[in-house]
Symmetry: C2
Subunit: 246 residues, 2 copies
């Protein structure tokens, strides 16, 4: 029994929502080059949905930060050497979580930027879909503009009618109702010149499943897959460093 690293390499602060957290773990496994169980990345998923609503908090609701920090500390204490948080809105509290963590914490929006580049998209207008708080507080805009992209954002009314409607349907397990509003938003953003659309809330990749993305004229960057690919890249780099040191 190898006791050198009993903890899992990856700690996942999930539960926001729980289906998105589980879908992240599934996509992490599906995207990892592996021939057998033992080739996959050891991961610990804290899928605790009791974290207060992140968007409501930005309007005066209960503060999620104590819950987020408790999760970060638990993952660190369990031996995680890297942390991923499959919830875009939670990244409004990113700096405080980084400060509380010994392990590095990936930033989901930086992972989306890497994913755009991986797809050969280095500039132009990116359509943004996400929660009301993510869009209103400019979480994506800040990162994308710093990297030379422009942003196409739905109006407040469009965000509610399309994104929020779809996100809430996923959280309530009504996946079939989640597709159409999300799809309408993708088409709207494409009609306004977006060269790609960011599914910038981890419920949205569940609303528009992979096998239906070919129905659209515009590529989508999926914040669940982007974060999973960032984990895999980091894991492989760390394995290479360890192999060279051995």
């Amino acid at each position: 029994m190898n006791d050198a690293h009993p903890g899992c390499y990856l700690g996942v602060l999930g539960g926001m929502g729980p289906m998105a957290g589980a879908a992240f773990a599934l996509r992490l496994s599906a995207l990892t080059p592996a021939d057998r169980d033992q080739d996959h990345i050891p991961a610990l998923l804290l899928n605790d949905p009791r974290v207060p609503d992140r968007t409501a908090a930005t309007r005066g609701g209960e503060d999620p930060l104590p819950y987020l920090l408790r999760g970060i500390r638990f993952l660190n204490d369990s031996g995680a050497r890297l942390i991923a948080i499959p919830c875009n809105t939670a990244h409004l509290w990113y700096d405080a979580m980084v400060k509380a963590s010994r392990a590095p914490v990936l930033h989901i929006i930086e992972s989306v930027v890497e994913d755009l580049r991986r797809r050969g998209i280095h500039s132009g207008k990116i359509g943004l879909m996400g929660t009301e708080a993510t869009l209103r507080l400019g979480l994506y805009q800040r990162h994308l503009e710093r990297h030379g992209y422009e942003c196409v954002v739905p109006s407040e009314e469009e965000q509610v009618a399309y994104c929020t409607k779809s996100i809430l349907a996923v959280k309530a397990n009504r996946l079939s109702e989640a597709f159409e509003p999300a799809a309408a938003c993708v088409r709207l953003l494409a009609s306004r010149g977006a060269v790609a659309v960011a599914l910038g809330c981890t419920e949205l990749p569940l609303a528009i499943p992979h096998d239906r993305r070919g129905e659209f004229d515009v590529p989508m960057t999926d914040s669940i897959d982007a974060l999973a690919l960032a984990v895999i890249q980091r894991y492989q780099a760390d394995q290479d460093v360890a192999a060279r040191a051995a």
Copy 2:
């Protein structure tokens, strides 16, 4: 912040394989009656794929038990009040895991029996699919026969050609190659009189996805969904007890 129960209700000993562990978390979320994040079951998924191969162990390979017990202890120490193990073959070590656990541990095969009853199947021949070790060591047979069912089991050659082939394809992320051998086994067992077929290895529900099960003349009981439904039932009963005590 509610600190009365900081740990997660459910501890999941996953990683065997990692995609099955994640799929279990996803199905748990999908099958839970919920209107919002906070209605879902708090869960901690230890998705550590370093556990030595369970089937190989029954042929003299490395013993997985120390890894299984480490996982059980970790989930207990993290506050889990119920434990689920989405790997059928690991249940060959069930008694030792129960002994090491303060929290009750659901038995996946008892959950499959409950699922058969839920579907109105109370007797008759059940077709068994699973790993070589699960079938050879009679893990399902013992439980099903005790509950009054008969078992239809593939021959050793059929088990390898159909079940093992499909299971290994899932573990290596080649899902499209996993369907046909598994499907052939379902048809074979139905032709031998099975009134239902047990997908008795947690890779098999991934090989034959939900949206393709209508292609078969025989119903399938899915060990991932059966275990998730058992968790949900237990959680609701525990919530009711807590509500009455309050």
